[in-house]
């Protein structure tokens, strides 16, 4: 009967309940999308790192990483690394942030790579760049094979595409030959950002150090660390907003049902049963809002300019947290319900 009573009351106040569910669902959907954005940073970085197929990186001693925190190395470092014991393959990589197109140029992550060996990302359609003037682009840039692309003012021809290849918050990746990358990034000087290696060197050339993939991954993610902190904070605030919405509805419900509760108590309904009624309402509201929120998040997620990958943990966590939020939010209402004097039932309506 508790469930029937709670459900009937929600039906009775359906307009308010619908508004509350819509509001909470929207908040939940934004929370989910934000967690998807945050997780998307990890997923795109992992995908890009995996595409290099390296075991580690040789960077300049003191450099924070091979990408964002790079300190350029002389091109000759590659040969020195290849001769080290423990290294089975080594290739130079150049990384820089550039733009493609004219008029409204788009920011890209430029990777200068060699055409075979380690650190040559797999191309989904077409082939890797082999000659000067050839470029492989992320499908996020919406270029096709054979298209002409202006990269930092220099013309390139698309020879391959990689599906949704992005890093640093959805910025598309492009691959060119090492020489072209050096021309664009280092004015043609034989300078490289890092050396990708297979194997683990026992010693490294003077002035360099070995960096594991995990550290290189952190280097790429460093660019979005502030954004991620902001997103997490907003997510926390959104949970509080959701709790406030549900709490308001439950509290109002408790206020308006004072006479009902008084009658229930006067006719022998225990406090626990009345509390279960309110808790059930809060949980029902939260779970329905979570379901609608998930649906909305699934619909709006792909429209975001950054990769939105809603983690499975969030899908599990959402209803769990939603129930917790519902329970927390109903506390004020529960206190109100417990305080109801059954003698109110004898007063005139």
């Amino acid at each position: 009967m508790v469930m029937r009573s709670a459900f009937r009351d929600l039906q009775w106040r359906r307009r308010r309940v619908l508004i509350a569910v819509a509001g909470t669902a929207l908040v939940f959907s934004i929370t989910l999308v934000l967690s998807g954005v945050s997780h998307g940073f990890d997923v795109e970085t992992d995908r890009t790192m995996a595409s290099f197929g390296s075991d580690g990186w040789i960077v300049r001693d003191g450099a924070a990483g091979p990408f964002i925190g790079q300190a350029p190395l002389p091109g000759s470092t590659v040969e020195a690394v290849r001769s080290e014991t423990g290294i089975t393959a080594a290739n130079a990589v150049v990384f820089s942030r550039k733009t493609v197109g004219v008029g409204s140029p788009k920011e890209v992550n430029l990777f200068g790579v060699e055409h075979r060996g380690v650190a040559v990302p797999a191309v989904d359609h077409g082939r890797a760049p082999r000659e000067s003037g050839e470029i492989v682009v992320s499908t996020r840039l919406h270029y096709g094979i054979g298209d002409k692309v202006l990269l930092s003012g220099k013309p390139f021809r698309v020879v391959g595409t990689i599906s949704n290849s992005t890093v640093v918050a959805g910025v598309p990746n492009v691959l060119v030959t090492l020489t072209d990358a050096q021309t664009i990034s280092f004015a043609g000087q034989p300078i490289i950002s890092a050396v990708a290696v297979k194997g683990t060197p026992r010693v490294v050339p003077p002035g360099t150090r070995f960096m594991h993939n995990a550290d290189a991954r952190r280097d790429l993610l460093r660019a979005v660390s502030n954004a991620r902190s902001g997103i997490n904070l907003i997510g926390l605030l959104l949970w509080l907003v959701a709790a406030t919405i549900i709490g308001s509805v439950i509290y109002l419900s408790a206020l308006e049902r004072v006479r009902d509760f008084a009658v229930f108590k006067a006719t022998g309904t225990s406090n626990a049963t009345i509390l279960a009624d309110l808790v059930l309402q809060a949980v029902l509201l939260s779970l329905v809002a979570a379901g609608v929120g998930l649906l909305v998040a699934t619909l709006i997620g792909p429209r975001f300019p950054v990769p939105v990958v809603i983690p499975v943990s969030s899908l599990v966590l959402l209803p769990t947290l939603a129930v917790a939020v519902g329970l927390l939010a109903s506390l004020a209402g529960l206190r109100r319900a417990i305080a109801v004097d059954p003698a109110i039932a004898f007063t005139a309506a």
Binding site: M1, R8, G268, T269, A343, A345, F346, A349
Partner: protein, 249 residues
């Protein structure tokens, strides 16, 4: 079962003051009878019903119904008393507006541990008994005052309590509704059930086995009631007693 009230004094807080509507009341009644508590507003009728229903704790005195010391009940025992021993028909009907007539009657049944199917059958039967067998799925807002009152009576009877309390049961009814409710209440006061009605409506006098007139002590001009029934006057004190603690449950 017998109801025994001894030296009952009721106090409660109201508007910053302490009100003592009943002071030193003695009363007894037995099952199978209908007792009418008659008197003007403020004489303590509803407070007395609240005490009998285990909702208000008297300041002094004893209330015993059967072998239950009502005034001493607390916690789960009090809840059980309210649930199984007493049925209350409130002046304002107090049906839950979001629930149908059937569901309103099912509430005390389900809370009393009756299984859902049996509760539904019992509620159906009770609504049939009060003449609302065809209105089970209607919400209170679609019912007249008289119909709501009959649903409230059905709800009060749900667990077949030996004590039925009715507070101003005719207050919101038209003359046709009054007649129906009077007949119903009269029928209910038989066998093992004691019915106590608080009212100022003298139209109910003919159905009472016993009439107890609650008269404020300060009222000296006690008028005689023209009634063939035995009637007793119980003088109660309706007074504001400033600074005294109130005790309510």
């Amino acid at each position: 079962m017998k109801l025994n009230i001894r030296h009952l004094t009721i106090e409660y807080a109201s508007g910053g003051s302490v009100v003592r509507p009943v002071s030193g009341l003695d009363l007894s009644a037995s099952s199978g009878s209908l007792v009418l508590l008659l008197g003007p507003s403020g004489c303590g009728k509803t407070s007395l019903l609240s005490c009998l229903g285990g909702i208000l704790t008297p300041k002094h005195g004893r209330i015993r119904f059967g072998d239950v010391e009502v005034d001493a009940l607390k916690g789960a025992k009090l809840t059980a008393y309210r649930r199984h021993m007493v049925g209350i028909v409130f002046q304002a009907f107090n049906l839950v507006p979001s629930m149908t007539a059937l569901e309103n009657v099912m509430v005390p049944l389900c809370n009393g541990g009756v299984r859902r199917r049996k509760a539904r059958a019992r509620a159906d039967s009770l609504l049939e008994q009060v003449g609302l067998g065809d209105r089970t799925d209607d919400r209170p807002s679609r019912m007249s005052g008289g119909e709501q009152q009959r649903v409230a009576i059905a709800r009060a009877l749900a667990l077949d309590p030996p004590l039925l309390l009715a507070d101003e049961p005719t207050a919101h009814l038209d003359s046709i509704g009054v007649e129906g409710v009077m007949r119903l209440l009269r029928e209910l006061a038989d066998g093992d059930r004691l019915v106590v009605i608080a009212t100022h409506d003298e139209r109910l006098l003919p159905i009472a086995d016993r009439v107890v007139e609650l008269v404020p002590k300060t009222t000296r001009d006690l008028r005689e009631h023209v009634t063939p029934l035995p009637m007793e006057r119980v003088a109660v004190q309706a007074a504001f007693v400033a600074g005294m603690p109130a005790s309510t449950r």
